[in-house]
Amino acid sequence: MRDFAYARAASPDEVVAARSAGAAIIAGGTEFLNWMRLGIADVAKVIDIGRLDALRDIVLDGTTLRIGALATLNQVGESEVVASSAPVLVEACLKAASAQLRNRATLGGNILQKTRCPYFRAEAPGVNPMPWPCNKRVAGSGCAAKESGYARLALFGWTDTCVATQPSDPAVALAALDATVEVIGAGGRRIIAMNEFHLSQQDAAKQFPDHKDVATLENTLRPDELITGFRVPIDAAAKRSAYLKVRERESYEYAMVSAAAALDLDGGRIRGVRIALGSVAQKPWRLAEAEAALRGQPLNGAAIDRALDRSLSAARALPGNEFKIALARNVARRVVLAAGGAHG
């Protein structure tokens, strides 16, 4: 790992000042230290935010659940208030990583993790060249993943520049919960909707047409900003929510496809539902057309499948991940039924 200078922040303002001066943030370190080892990050200054204890609280304030950015995944996952108000988030946190990583990994850091595409994660620190093309690592070098047959690539929102996916589990839950992200930067505080926090490559190309290195754009956090926390509106759907993660081994593995659902029921009928898929795009992928089609429908597998087709028909498979379209349909159907207490 390259040498760097270290400082511990005593306030969010110090973090913003350090960020503006080019420092990178470390919290738990479970992702950032790998960036430094692999050469994904190459910075001279690192600011440790781990002692900003005010950013660690989990509080239910009326109908808003507020979670500090430094709450660890185990802290969120074992929180009774989160379990009773937004069970999907508990399930997503506890299905992420391992017990010991979850004791370090923070919720703020988790949604900032970068793709697990193995072509991106090549070890090429400092002057060492990348062994293959990756536009995220070397602008304009190409994408070795697209024709590789690797299954964990995107179905939605990708471009020829980059076909990678965002692997976060909690982000999928937060998207289905219509959560917002609180950030502080040189311009003050602002709130970003979770569904606008991450960028698909299509979003990135559209929103930043003049950017020289568009493949690197994964979210809308600015270079001077720090995530301070999350706000989750606790409605009837949040309380009746579930997460389902399908992976190649039963524990301690990234998702092949995951899904989160928050469901508002009126007897046996769906009053409203929010569904997000994970590991199919560079952002949690909300199924807006399916959600609209399900309003007023009965809670059964056939009705859900018909609605899901409206969203999944937009999927664009890549060589080797065609099966993920069927998998996504199955995972999404099962998670909606599970949120409603039914099995499919």
Binding site: R8, E14, I26, G28, A99
Partner: protein, 166 residues
Amino acid sequence: MSKATPTFATHVTTHLQLNGKAMSVGHEARVSLLDLLREHLQLTGTKKGCNEGACGACTVLLDGERVNACMTLAASCDGRQVRTVEALAGQDGVLDAVQQAFIDHDAFQCGYCTPGQIVSAYACVKEGHTRSPAEIAEWMSGNLCRCAAYPQIVAAVGQAARTTKG
């Protein structure tokens, strides 16, 4: 609230309560807790397997919670308590219930992952994630065993949980 950028340093001094003893050590800021233990403090019981948070061989207790020492910056542990596998047995040499259970169940083959397994199991028992073999397997999944002694490890953790309660 200070608007000033804090002072950055490439060399830092970290104060630890390490295995019950207060100590200070100077080191490069980039050093992981794992390298601090093994290379600076000669505590080599904690193993380096993957060095990327994938195997769990480096599991230690930080303020009583299990963490991957390879993914923890040593500097960020300043002022905190660290406990390693060397300090699980009593000073009289009597093994901890978890260590004894691993012997009783032959819960290893090559032994490389064992220190991490034992520290992780110690925390797993303390946390109470031992109500069924499935729960143990889930909460021990961060410790890989290439020899695949998993059934014996799950049995050992189950025994340790019962002995610790009794």
